[in-house]
């Protein structure tokens, strides 16, 4: 890699989750903010260590669920009272107990779809290209290795300095990744 290449960041590779989480904490303490940890399974400690503690997914799901419930009930209310009133066995047109089930199902349906679509959208997926895949050994991130990437857009980022910093952690390998 030449010096003129635009960098995505400097990437350190770790063998254990412990080493990754410890490095994340050190990096945060050293003032780095624009970084990401990569692991082959969910590692909540890593997310906490890089300072990502709250997700918007539960809130979105709640909103989706409420909208779904309102849609389900509203649809039945409108159909039965206005669009197509049907007298079934003399029951009131607004016979709310029989509307509950479809209201419930629509709540679940909307909430579930919102949770999935919301999660994917917030994650920026589907994303066909990402510079981290330029790392020659990154396929191991979906297998048995852990990576920490300090991104070039970070205010504290300095090519040589950041590299030295990561080499001082428990990393087995430190590499620069092109953007």
């Amino acid at each position: 890699m030449t010096d003129s290449t635009i960098l995505h960041g400097v990437v350190a590779e770790y063998v254990t989750p412990d080493a990754l989480v410890a490095a994340c904490k050190q990096a945060r303490k050293a003032g780095y903010r624009r970084m990401d940890a990569y692991s082959p399974f969910p590692l909540e400690e890593a997310a906490d260590a890089i300072g990502f503690e709250k997700t918007q997914v539960p809130l979105l799901t709640l909103i989706g669920g409420i909208l779904g419930g309102l849609t389900g009930y509203g649809l039945q209310y409108w159909v039965n009272l206005s669009a197509y009133p049907l007298n079934i066995g003399g029951r009131p047109l607004h016979s709310w107990p029989s509307f509950i089930i479809i209201t419930f199902e629509m709540t679940i349906l909307f909430a579930g779809i919102t949770a999935v679509v919301g999660m994917l959208t917030l994650n920026g997926l589907p994303q066909p290209y990402h510079p981290i895949f330029n790392h020659p050994r990154f396929t191991a991130a979906s297998r048995d290795r852990f990576f920490l990437c300090i991104e070039a857009t970070d205010d504290h980022f300095d090519r040589a300095e950041t590299r030295r910093f990561l080499e001082a952690t428990d990393a087995v390998d430190v590499a620069e990744v092109a953007d």
Binding site: P40, P42, A47, I88, S95, S98, I102, A141
Partner: protein, 458 residues
């Protein structure tokens, strides 16, 4: 392995590492050659699936008159099979959602194929409401949409509740399954050698890279889906039971139906899980990941839900007598002593008596015995729906309107055909997708936990 006692059998046999787990599951799909046994099984079930297609084509050509249904018994095999298949699907959701919320680590290796089982079972179930309408090309009339006829569905009908419950269930199950697959598809993308396979798995993985931020949102969404699927799965079979319980037909109009339908669904679903898991773990050599502990736990769930079902039968019989309603009591007598008494007593034998063998540890530790018991339970649960549907309808209030029901060869052809569709899909699934959730298996490893004080929460 097989010699370990319950309590000692681990969920994952010791000695695995992150690499071996990944390699083992990935190699089943990406490296293992296609065996003659797989081809033979696939061709057989593919043939059965074509029986379904042929029978459906003839059905659309001639109409539902080719079935055994008649005037008192307007609901025959179609609804029996529908309820049976939906019920089988429920175990998949139970394993993936409810056991996740209850933090049962043993679910991790069986949830993926159990979810696939759910999807395929719901697909098989979905065939029946569609084709039983007589004019399936107008089935979209069931959905509320603005139309030139100016009519809307009848929202007070349990049949419409069913449309919403089952379509929501199918959608949420598919989402749950796919979301669970994304990280494993990324592993496949990164491991596959074949460029075409790499491209396809890569597309399906949506560019997943295992970022800590992504994982956090992912875990959050997955947990929420589990929380949503839990009441959903209970509601689906409750709504299915409302198809019966909301009516006033003797033998159907009873409040015990929702809980006992849900228990029965889980009962048959776990039986199907065992019927699939026992051969899969043997043929694919994954006994170290689907251990005897899994089989033992599944057998215990079967035993427990089977007892709830048995309680349902006894309450049904007791209230038929205790209510003092002569029509209810007649339905009971007719079930036990009438022309279809064989179906009732086979049901009691298959669903209540034979499964009591599962109390014995030796039976639970013997895969063949467990497999056979599960088959018996599947048959028993099918008979349960047959007894509920047919014996209640064929002799109701007025003796002048009594009748008899005999299934025709087309009824059987369609039922057997859906079995073909189901197993055909399962055969494709085990060869194309990771049948065990790789990333969740990694989490079972002791070395996956963050331990050192330096890394722990401060």
């Amino acid at each position: 392995m097989e010699r370990l006692l319950p309590g000692q059998a681990p969920v994952l046999t010791p000695g695995h590492t992150l690499e071996t787990i990944t390699d083992k599951i990935v190699s089943i799909v990406l490296r293992r050659p296609v065996t003659l046994g797989w081809v033979g099984g696939f061709v057989f079930f593919f043939g059965l699936m074509n029986v379904l297609l042929f029978a459906m084509a003839y059905l659309f050509f001639r109409g539902v008159g080719i079935w055994g249904i008649n005037v008192p018994v307007g609901w025959g095999f179609a609804i029996v099979n529908f309820v049976w298949w939906v019920g089988i699907g429920h175990a998949g959701t139970l394993i993936s959602a409810i056991l996740l919320l209850l933090k049962q680590g043993w679910r991790n290796s069986i949830n993926r194929f159990a979810e696939a089982m759910t999807l395929f079972a719901v697909a098989c179930a979905g065939v029946f409401p569609l084709i039983h309408t007589g004019r399936p090309w107008l089935a979209y009339w069931l959905f509320p949409y603005p139309n030139t006829m100016g009519v809307w569905p009848q929202f007070r009908s349990p049949l419409l509740w069913d449309v919403f419950a089952v379509s929501t269930y199918a959608t949420i199950s598919a989402l749950f399954w796919f979301v669970g697959l994304i990280p494993d598809l990324a592993t496949f993308r990164d491991t596959a050698q074949n460029p075409v396979a790499k491209k396809i798995y890569g597309l399906l993985a949506l560019g997943w890279r295992g970022s800590a931020r992504h994982w956090k949102r992912y875990e959050s969404a997955y947990l929420l889906l589990a929380g949503l699927a839990t009441p959903l799965v209970l509601s689906v079979h409750t709504v299915v039971s409302f198809d019966f319980a909301i009516s006033i037909v003797p033998g159907w109009h009873t409040t015990v139906f929702p809980p006992y339908f849900v228990a029965g669904a889980i009962y048959s679903g776990f039986a199907m899980v065992l019927v699939l898991a026992i051969p899969i773990r043997k043929f694919y050599g994954v006994q170290d990941m689907m251990t005897m502990r899994h089989l033992d736990n599944a057998a215990k769930v079967m035993l427990g839900t089977g007892l709830i079902v048995a309680y349902g039968y006894s309450m049904e019989a007791f209230y038929a007598y205790y209510s003092g309603n002569i029509y209810e009591f007649f339905v009971l007598k007719n079930r036990m002593l009438g022309p279809l008494a064989w179906s009732y007593w086979c049901l009691i034998l298959f669903n209540v008596l034979i499964p009591q063998l599962l109390w014995i540890r030796k039976v639970r530790q013997n895969t063949l015995a467990l497999f056979c018991t599960s088959l018996v339970v599947l048959l028993g649960m099918w008979l349960e729906r047959f007894v509920i549907v047919v014996t209640s309808l064929h002799r109701d209030f007025l003796p002048s309107s009594w009748g008899m029901y005999t299934a025709t060869r087309w009824d059987y052809a369609i039922y057997v055909g859906t079995l073909g569709l189901f197993f055909c899909a399962m055969f494709l699934f085990v060869r194309l997708m990771p049948m065990i959730t790789i990333f969740e298996m990694r989490m079972l490893l002791p070395q996956s936990r963050v331990t050192s004080s330096e890394a722990a929460h401060d």
